[in-house]
């Protein structure tokens, strides 16, 4: 029974954090930028949401405001990277570090408990009488589907196509008359908006926001992406790829649940996740080398 509950928890956690992974995907795979704003903007989403709930803002509106805060965080990284020409990784780190102080300022303390306030999950729970696990699952799924549909639409539009092309071949995109500073900044904004939305949903679900809640989020996002790619490949249609990331996020949570059941503690998880990502990113390279080597042997052997 314990394992079933743990799995159900993993499923809903995976879906809520899956939104964050979708955000990471936009920068990491579409824009080809390693954006480290993530750890800060995830907590910003949580912090803004917490302050909203404490002040009696409607929980849905709180989610929207958190998302907007994420847009702003992404915009700052975008400006640092494009206008100030700071390398993307450093620009992200600067925003992330700055956000730590800002998040503390937003909440006024490092941890805001929210158990006595209404949130989207408790509201639906009261409305339907379903168990909390089911409610998280339903809301998580609805939001995720909406986001995937919205992303699918947006990245098919004229401007969305140029964002995708920017990650592919910046030089060509400029030669075709697109300001790549704008496309990169837009991509960073959408990405961090989603990440903050994820942080806000997680905050409402767990009943508190913590200034440290985003630490390691980037690695969890990457883990979800690479797990999704290992299972579904990374050549599929856009909609499939987005879905595979959410599935990757769920599988990551299941792995975590299993590992925890086996007696590992949560502090060791970060190391485990880092190793997982490192391996998953290495495997394709090694496989490529192997392919090359066997091809070389085959062709060279023939010539003899």
């Amino acid at each position: 029974m314990g394992i079933v509950l743990a799995m159900q928890g993993a499923l809903s956690q995976g879906i809520l954090w899956g939104l964050m992974a979708l955000g990471v995907y936009i920068t990491f795979r579409l824009l080809d930028i390693a954006d480290l704003t993530v750890d800060g903007s995830f907590a910003t989403g949580g912090a803004v949401c917490a302050v909203c709930l404490v002040n009696g803002v409607n929980p849905i509106l709180a989610l929207i405001l958190s998302t907007i805060a994420g847009f702003i965080a992404g915009w700052i990284t975008g400006v640092l990277h494009t206008k100030c020409q700071i390398p993307a990784i450093l620009a992200g780190i600067l925003t992330q570090i700055g956000l730590y102080s800002i998040n503390l300022r937003i909440m006024g303390r490092s941890n805001t408990p929210l158990l006595q306030y209404d949130n989207v999950f408790s509201q639906l729970e009261e409305l339907t009488g379903l168990s909390s696990n089911w409610v998280v699952l339903i809301i998580g799924l609805i939001v995720t589907i909406l986001v995937i549909v919205a992303l699918y639409w947006y990245f098919g539009t004229e401007i969305g196509s140029s964002i995708r092309a920017t990650g592919n071949n910046e030089q060509m995109v400029r030669a075709l008359g697109v300001n790549t500073n704008v496309t990169k900044t837009l991509g960073l904004m959408i990405s961090n908006g989603l990440i903050a939305l994820s942080g806000a949903l997680v905050t409402q679900q767990q009943g508190y926001a913590d200034v440290r809640m985003g630490i390691g989020a980037i690695v969890i996002g990457l883990a979800s992406i690479v797990i999704g790619e290992v299972i579904f490949g990374h050549k599929g249609a856009f909609g499939t790829r987005l879905t595979s990331i959410v599935v990757g996020s769920v599988i990551y949570r299941i792995i975590v649940a299993v590992v925890l059941q086996m007696g590992l503690n949560t502090d060791d998880l970060k190391l485990l996740t880092a190793i997982l990502v490192a391996i998953a990113l290495t495997v394709p390279i090694v496989m490529n080398k192997q392919k090359q080597l066997s091809m070389y042997k085959k062709l060279t052997g023939k010539e003899k």
Binding site: T157, E158, S161, A165, R174, L176, V178
Partner: protein, 264 residues
């Protein structure tokens, strides 16, 4: 049409790597000119193209295109008027995107991009027609990723993309140099066809002297960031490769010893 006045460019100024790539260069291009540009390695041919396209800022001087001073415009702003094909087939297209997506991007060169769908059914029909004339069978593979195409196919596609919306100026920087001779000829024939058909004002860098003589109505030779020879019309048509070599030696005071230059 295109006026380049006293344009200079020095890379890495004030360092040991200082390199004067363009030296107070002047060039006046008439509407409809098809100019071939030759010169040794490092003569500044690519730099000239990049300065016109706005890839790097110029140090001094002025560039007018179609009566407008574009010297300080960003690359993406100039793109509205300029179509380009690069030497590296990888540079002109987005490998992970479909052929038709690449064409749709090109079909919006210099136009505002908004929230309309990135490609319309009508465009797909037009692209189908346009691809057919390339004679490479690409019209049946419009949803294939460009990364699957050969270098020659990618160059032909890039050429089509650069001219899909008629550019005021077409810049071709050794766009056949990376191709095998047969493919190179095909892409070059296609270039000639498109340029003549649309009467495009074109600058084409080439390392093949025969091509430089036979194609276009004007030829310029560059050396150390300067134009050392400029010939057009009948005089150009009468040129022989040996004339060009002599000119080069005259102007530069050096033996022409550049294995990358092709005499054939």
């Amino acid at each position: 049409m295109l006026q380049i006045k006293n344009v200079s460019k020095t890379f890495n100024p004030g360092t040991v790597n200082e390199k004067k790539a363009l030296d107070r260069l002047n060039l006046h291009v008439e509407e409809g000119d098809f100019i071939t540009i030759i010169g040794g390695n490092g003569a500044g041919k690519s730099t000239l193209m990049n300065m016109v396209a706005g890839v790097y800022p110029i140090d001094c001087g002025t560039i007018y295109l179609d009566g407008k001073n574009i010297s300080l415009q960003a690359e993406y702003q100039r793109a509205q008027m300029i179509g380009r094909v690069f030497q590296d087939p990888m540079l002109g297209t987005a490998a992970d995107m479909a052929i038709q997506e690449n064409l749709a991007m090109a079909n919006r060169r210099g136009k505002k991009r908004g929230l309309k769908w990135g490609i319309t059914p009508k465009e797909k029909e037009i692209f189908h027609e346009q691809l057919k004339r390339l004679g490479l069978g690409l019209e049946d593979r419009m949803t294939s990723k460009v990364g699957l195409l050969s270098g020659g196919q990618r160059q032909a596609l890039t050429l089509l993309m650069a001219t899909l919306i008629k550019p005021k100026l077409l810049l071709l920087d050794e766009h056949t140099a990376a191709l095998d001779p047969r493919t190179a000829k095909k892409v070059l024939d296609l270039t000639n066809e498109i340029v003549n058909e649309q009467n495009l004002t074109t600058l084409m860098v080439t390392h093949n002297m025969q091509d430089a003589i036979h194609i276009g109505n004007r030829l310029i030779m560059m050396h150390e960031g300067k134009i050392i020879y400029d010939v057009k019309g009948e005089e150009k048509k009468q040129l022989k490769v040996s004339d060009l070599l002599k000119k080069f030696e005259e102007a530069s005071g050096e033996e022409f010893a550049n294995d990358r230059m092709m005499l054939g």
